[in-house]
Symmetry: C2
Subunit: 333 residues, 2 copies
């Protein structure tokens, strides 16, 4: 496959490079006749403008990046893929170049976000999945650049954010449990290194303190993982902890807890009602099926892309956009 450049198109259609460029960039000051000829030749030659050259020379071409941290740590969690899908769906209808970048703690140490941005001439960036202990998290606190964070917010007024209202979502989940008549609740929250964790605690407390004094005391911290949840709940049961309703901050933890309860001889939802978070696919396949808080990750991705686009075009300042959540009631409560 030999390369065909703008020069080839120019010479074989008998016009200058400038003109070819204008045609491909939709400038109006080209005669219809010329335009047509150029397009025809380009098509015959199989010409497509080189992205690197465009990115180098153009002042207006925008390239946006989606940075995903810790991809695929857990099988069964398709969230990153869904976010990616949403982001692509949005940017496919724009003229932006799209760059995807998967990172992790190690890579973050080697290359700062600023450098990545420079390297790829990024004009706007979406980022998801950071732990509060990671380098990029630190960097985001002070950076000034068109960035939209997904599921994380910072004090930094330069950053846009998109997420569900985690406080409200946790409040709603807890309230759902209470409405069903469960009164002795437990909240199996995620890792404190995740930003959403604290907010979910607050939501739980806000709802539950209508019934108990120190609602905080009924919160356990885990790591979003099924196995850990299984271990923790098993322990609690052995220690004699009594509860009849459980709000877990991830579906995987809810599933782990469900297994622990079963193994201990308790039944869901008769002895203990459970509600999870995320609405991953597994929730429809467990027995009993799992009630949960649904947040549509594809919508979240689209929303993030939209916000970033608005920010880049100065249609709006950076701010926090909320994705609506919903409570899905299945058989576990």
């Amino acid at each position: 496959m030999k390369k065909v450049s703008i020069n080839d198109v120019a010479s074989t259609s008998g016009v200058s490079r400038s003109t070819v460029s204008k045609v491909f960039n939709g400038y109006a000051d080209v005669s219809p006749k010329t335009r047509k000829k150029v397009l025809k030749v380009a098509d015959k030659l199989g010409y497509s403008p080189n992205a690197a050259a465009r990115s180098l020379s153009s002042k207006t071409l925008r390239t946006v990046a989606l940075v995903l941290n810790n991809i695929n740590v857990t099988r069964g969690v398709t969230r990153p893929l869904e976010i990616l899908k949403g982001v692509l769906t949005y940017f496919d209808q724009t003229d932006c170049e799209f760059v995807f970048y998967a990172t992790d703690s190690k890579k973050q140490k080697e290359k700062s976000l600023r450098r990545f941005i420079q390297e790829h001439n990024i004009s706007g960036l979406l980022i998801h999945g950071l732990d509060i202990s990671e380098p990029y998290y630190e960097e985001l606190k002070t950076i000034n650049f068109p960035i939209v964070t997904i599921d994380m917010h910072f004090d930094n007024p330069n950053l846009g954010t998109v997420s569900v209202d985690d406080r409200k979502a946790a409040f709603d989940a807890t309230t759902t449990l209470l409405d069903k008549g469960y009164r002795k609740l437990l909240c199996l929250n995620g890792s404190l290194s995740a930003q959403v964790t604290e907010e979910r605690s607050e939501g739980f407390v806000k709802a539950y303190r209508q019934y108990v004094e120190n609602a905080e005391d009924y919160i356990l911290y885990a790591d979003f993982d099924e196995t850990t949840a299984y271990r923790i709940i098993s322990q609690e049961l052995k220690r004699g902890r009594e509860f009849d309703g459980l709000f877990a901050a991830s579906d995987l933890m809810a599933i782990g807890a469900m297994r622990a309860l079963e193994d201990y001889g308790l039944r869901v939802p008769d002895d203990v009602g459970i509600i999870g978070f995320d609405d991953i696919i597994l929730t429809s396949y467990t027995k009993p099926t799992l009630s949960t808080v649904r947040q549509d990750a594809t919508d979240l991705g689209m929303m993030a892309a939209q916000l970033l686009d608005d920010v880049m075009l100065h249609k709006t300042g950076a701010h926090h956009r909320i994705l609506p959540h919903s409570i899905i009631v299945r058989d576990s409560i």
Copy 2:
């Protein structure tokens, strides 16, 4: 954030652009002293070579692309993400630039693979998920370029391929069913528009014809999807089709079939034994848990990346590398 270019580094460290470039490309003919100084300045300035410029000017820089078709059509299938992970894992340890490209039928019509390759100066490409009716499938038949296809093979000797041995895998799955004593089998195969389908049919037939005359007659074609599988199996049952063992060409179909059987009043594995294909996460969560053919998609991605790298470096010609599969026996047989 103001950009810092090679010129900035050159001038503030008092050397030429050439020298800075040499430092960053690991050339040996730079004095240790100069190298150190340049690196220090670059670090202070936050300099990182611009990828577009490098890609434009360098004759040696390799950029590889992963093209994924129809990402995320089905929730719960993490395969694309796992492949991506494997590919990244491999290329992270090389000096290749990595480009990710999500496509679909519509995009394929708009931009040929050749054009994509030109646009991004690609020197090697990985591709997954094509249907035989799609434009890129057609294009791949004749293209001559370093390409490794994942889960598809072509007569085109220029292309490398990586996959499990689908014929053998289907044979092994069927044999497993037979070994467990099931004798009246049914094969619920995927769509004929997927390439693996025919091979799996062959594997099924090869194993089953030891027991029946026209093993072909016991193959049904669906589309890998749970709902369709449910519908088809329900129909067959109503029509009076009798079988005590089912090999499904995807776990999702196996699950759909399982539900159809249950709804019809049959029990798995007592009345009908089921084995699926892929080992998606759901298999461990259904009741009964699902036996299946395991293929590790992350390994597949790594293997594909490895092969592509070898081909690009002329360490080997394009050929077919087989990923080992294994039979996972769970409660459904």
